[in-house]
């Protein structure tokens, strides 16, 4: 959760506190009208209207898209692309820049070999990506599109998250069971710590004091004290069949949502009690998820059933299932920006 979103949430909560009932019941579509889904098998991005949940565009990206993020102003989407030639940087390996108004890829930035997950700094100027095959993380300057730093991290790096203040980047590594911490001021790996088996994704709490790391094979979520970069708790998730992958933290920090892969569900964690408090069945093989800016809805990309589950978090139920492209992998949610209808 970026500082931008946190600030927006705070402003919205202030508004809601003084709002009449009619405003409280107003549809959210105008405020969170875009949902983007990267489809790794159909090599495109599905764009949905968050209000109607209807598709408004399918944008071809030409290679295998996975990680996806919106620029702070909502005009651009960044999509991690990789080709079918592992362990070497090929023509397909890039961070694609999608102009949402034009509905097409307008630029491609270098981001090392086989970029999979990435994160943007809150100011939108830099992008940190994991390069799974090379065992590195790349820092790309989005103004120039050039890689500014390539850093050695753990073996088989995967998840990337930037702290809300933009200071720290956490990069998980699946084989070494590590999280490497990059200081964005110096672009150096300042420490590396161990977590449970096969860490996948990471997410910071909005206040930046805690981070959460999913451990797929361990079946757990690590709770990290960000000030010390240390694991302070390990929360078991699911019954053993669960494979925690994607993770998102509610805007108020009171819930952590974890996609459980083959368990076909999303776990809801109360971080204060450090335990799972609910499990929400979704589609098949949920990989990644994203919250609406107000934290009321959760969008879950289901990689095998080729759809997106929309969860009403007030009831903990799926209220809609929307068809996507083939192999939906990542989800990003934001404002409409300048999307043409």
């Amino acid at each position: 959760m970026s500082a931008r979103v946190t600030a927006r949430l705070a402003a919205r909560l202030t508004l809601l506190a003084a709002a009449p009932a009619a405003l409280l019941a107003a549809p959210l579509a105008a405020q969170e009208s875009l949902i983007l889904v990267s489809n790794e098998r159909s090599h495109d991005v599905t764009v949905l209207d968050a209000g109607t949940l209807r598709p408004v565009a399918t944008i071809p990206v030409g290679a295998r898209p996975r990680g996806i993020q919106l620029s702070p102003d909502g005009r651009l989407a960044y999509v991690a692309l990789s080709d079918d030639r592992p362990r070497q940087e090929g023509a397909g390996d890039a961070i694609a820049v999608v102009d949402l108004a034009a509905r097409r890829v307008t630029a491609r930035h270098a981001a090392g070999s086989d970029p999979e997950q990435f994160a943007l700094t809150p100011d939108g100027r830099r992008l940190y990506a994991s390069n799974e095959d090379a065992g590195t993380a790349s820092a790309t300057d989005l103004r120039t599109g050039r890689v500014q730093a390539t850093l050695v991290v753990g073996i088989e790096p995967e998840g990337v998250a930037v702290s809300p203040d933009g200071r720290w980047v956490y990069v998980t590594a699946e084989t070494s069971n590590t999280v490497s911490v990059i200081d964005t001021r110096s672009d150096e790996v300042v420490t590396t710590f161990l977590v449970d088996v096969r860490p996948r994704a990471a997410a910071f709490a909005p206040d930046g004091r805690r981070a959460y790391v999913t451990c797929e094979i361990g079946g757990t979520v690590a709770v990290v004290d960000v000030a010390r970069h240390e694991v302070v708790a390990t929360i078991p998730v699911g019954d053993g069949s669960a494979k925690p992958v994607g993770v998102a933290v509610a805007p108020d920090g009171r819930r952590v949502y974890v996609a459980l892969g083959r368990a076909n569900a999303v776990a809801v964690i109360d971080p204060a009690r450090r335990r799972v408090v609910d499990s929400i069945p979704v589609g098949r093989r949920p990989w990644n998820l994203a919250l609406s800016p107000d934290g009321r809805r959760l969008y879950v990309a289901n990689g095998v059933s080729d759809d997106l589950s929309v969860v009403d978090l007030a009831t903990g139920r799926v209220t809609a299932t929307v068809k996507t492209g083939r192999g939906p992998w990542g989800v990003a949610v934001g404002r409409a920006g300048r999307l043409r209808r």
Partner: protein, 290 residues
């Protein structure tokens, strides 16, 4: 493992009884929290691994990859890995003994059956972990020694996996710890890293060597003591589940793979806890029921 350079050692070592007759030589605990000293006692470590003519060579390749990856993790975590190779001129158990007496926190090793038994006995005497990455012998595996852990599965495990494989067992040509065609849960990436390094597929021996190093290093990193880490740790061998050592037998509980004549690979999960506890340790020396 059948290819053994140390087979002559069998003539002078007679297994646990012989080992027990020797005076225990306790090794002082090292005060090197920042340095892990890993002994490697595998045969033919020095042979040309570009052509890799033997299973032992394949094992050595796996160990080499494991060490390379471990060194990276150690560097990232501000620690250091010191690799101590065994003296090739010595019998296996003597080589292991020398490694441990010179400060190895653990030894990853394999040899012929009798050599493995001798190494396990020596480890028992010295009170340092020996991680078996190549000996299948059931007597060794079920001896349930305090200081010997088994990444290699026992012959009984292989038989059991074949028996539980269902119809595919009819066409089975092999049952293995690993297969180069595995893709899920990082297996494809591991196979690719191995192939890139050696230009050859990662076979079961190579996986065992790689995994032997990995479990020792992770155990040490997590608990600052190899034995404690092996006893309590969960490890990722890229088999889709967290792997742990059986408390009694100290054998790694892991899936095996049945390979059919047409190349199809079928995963067979480990026996359930209930199935195993009955005869995991042949403490009385009686023949096993299975």
């Amino acid at each position: 493992m059948k290819a053994v350079a140390w087979s002559a050692a069998l003539l002078v070592l007679a297994g646990p009884a012989c080992a027990a007759a020797q005076a225990p030589a306790p090794v002082p605990a090292p005060a090197r929290a920042q340095v892990l000293r890993l002994g490697v006692a595998i045969p033919r470590m020095g042979e040309d691994r570009r052509i890799c003519p033997s299973p032992a060579c394949s094992l050595a390749r796996g160990v080499e990859l494991g060490i390379a990856e471990a060194e990276r993790v150690m560097t990232l975590t501000r620690r250091r890995l010191e690799v101590l190779p065994a003296a090739s001129e010595l019998p296996a158990a003597d080589a292991l003994r020398r490694l441990m007496e010179s400060g190895a926190d653990a030894v990853v090793g394999a040899a012929g059956t009798a050599d493995c038994v001798a190494m396990a006995a020596a480890a028992e005497q010295l009170g340092r972990p020996f991680v078996n990455v190549g000996c299948r012998d059931d007597a060794l595996q079920r001896a349930c020694r305090r200081w010997t852990w088994h990444v290699e599965a026992g012959e009984a495990d292989y038989r059991s996996a074949r028996g539980r494989a269902g119809p595919v067992a009819v066409d089975a040509v092999d049952v293995a710890l690993w297969h180069a065609s595995l893709q899920r849960f990082g297996a494809g990436e591991l196979n690719q890293r191995f192939r890139e390094r050696f230009g050859a597929p990662m076979d079961a021996q190579a996986w065992a060597g790689w995994m032997g190093v990995k479990v020792v290093v992770e155990a040490w990193l997590r608990r600052n003591a190899v034995a404690a880490g092996l006893e309590t740790g969960r490890f990722d061998g890229h088999k889709g589940a967290a792997l742990a050592f059986d408390r009694a037998s100290r054998s790694l509980r892991q899936p095996l793979y049945v390979v059919a004549r047409d190349g199809a690979v079928t995963e067979v999960p480990p026996e359930s806890e209930a199935e195993r506890t009955a005869d995991a340790c042949a403490r009385d020396g009686a023949p096993e029921s299975r």
